[in-house]
């Protein structure tokens, strides 16, 4: 898949993974697994970028004697998800155009 497209899609996927409740890194990977394969090294820059653009916040919480980072979606992140839903309609139209019947 086109790198830029994939990155954008994965970003909104990660946001969707923490849409209903806070999640930690490995949990996000597991939640996304049935839908999209993402490795730790791919997830890391995505999380950093989402944080720097204000779409999620990070907090550290204690778990089994170590500190775990939990990610929480922000209103800006929710808006990104909404925008994605709107963009999907446009994408469908483009797909229809690209896959239209060949003219004889």
């Amino acid at each position: 898949m086109d790198i830029q497209l994939k990155r954008g899609l994965l970003e909104v996927c990660v946001l969707a993974a923490i849409r209903d409740e806070d999640g930690y890194g490995y949990q996000i990977i597991k939640d996304m697994k049935p839908y999209a394969e993402i490795s730790e090294s791919t997830l890391y820059p995505i999380l950093r970028r989402l944080e720097s653009t204000g779409m999620l916040t990070v907090r550290a919480a204690e778990h089994n004697g170590r500190l775990r980072k939990y990610y929480r979606i922000t209103p800006l992140g929710r808006k990104r998800i909404e925008d994605f839903k709107e963009e999907w309609g446009e994408m469908q139209k483009i797909y229809q155009f690209v896959t239209r019947e060949e003219e004889s």
Binding site: S41, S52, R68
Partner: protein, 227 residues
């Protein structure tokens, strides 16, 4: 608990195998300590903060996998090789974050030339600004001094009124006496109020200045972060 004797023997064996087959290291069989040593080393050039953040992230990933039942080596292998990870992280970092420290102190020759050429303009302007600041300072001090003088006068008047009023009461001039005492009390009260104002108002102004400066500072800091 995790490493029984048989597991430990296996670990040592895989370590030897790793060293035996090729001189270089492979990800399989690497343990946490080695992983982080290599990752940290490969992230040289990044800020301390970024390096620690990356290390924390992968430490969490490895620990989470170990919690699910993987062994340390398997967990380390699952997150990828330090080389690939470092390459990915370094490629993501914008060049500004890396070389931030060096160019900041050096002045570009263009800037120096402009500075010198513009000197006839900005030196007088700077001097004028300094004079204005000095004048403002003098005005403030003068105002403070006059306020204090007025305060002192009020206090003196109040004391005189009280004293005189009491004397008048004593010598039989009741009405005038009471009047003087009343006037003296009013002066005294005003003096106290003025004094309190002189003490607390400057403090309040300084506090307002501090808050405003901090707020302005935070605006600049936010701009730096969103780049």
């Amino acid at each position: 608990m995790k490493n029984s004797n048989s597991e430990r023997a296996q670990n040592e064996q895989s370590h030897e195998e790793r060293m035996r087959t090729d001189g270089s290291r492979t990800a399989a069989g690497m343990r946490k300590y080695e992983f982080f040593m290599e990752l940290y080393g490969r992230l040289e050039g990044l800020s301390e903060e970024d390096r620690k953040r990356s290390a924390d992230y992968y430490a969490e990933m490895i620990d989470d996998r170990m919690e699910e039942g993987l062994s340390e080596e398997e967990a380390v292998a699952a997150v990828g090789s330090p080389e690939e990870i470092a390459r990915g992280i370094l490629s993501e970092v914008p060049p500004s974050a890396r070389e931030e420290r060096k160019p900041r102190k050096r002045w570009s020759p263009m800037a120096v030339v402009l500075l010198i050429l513009g000197a006839p303009l900005w030196i007088p302007l700077l001097a004028a600004a300094a004079c204005i600041l000095l004048a403002v300072l003098i005005v403030i001090v003068a105002a403070a001094v006059s306020f204090f003088a007025a305060d002192l006068a009020l206090a003196a008047g109040g004391a005189a009124g009280l004293l005189g009023g009491v004397l008048m009461l004593g010598t039989g001039h009741g009405v005038s006496g009471v009047f003087l005492i009343g006037g003296g009390l009013v002066c005294g009260g005003l003096a106290v109020l003025l004094f309190l104002g002189l003490v607390y108002v400057p403090r309040g102004i300084l506090w307002l200045c501090k808050i405003t400066a901090r707020w302005i500072g935070s605006l600049f800091r936010k701009k730096e972060e969103t780049v």
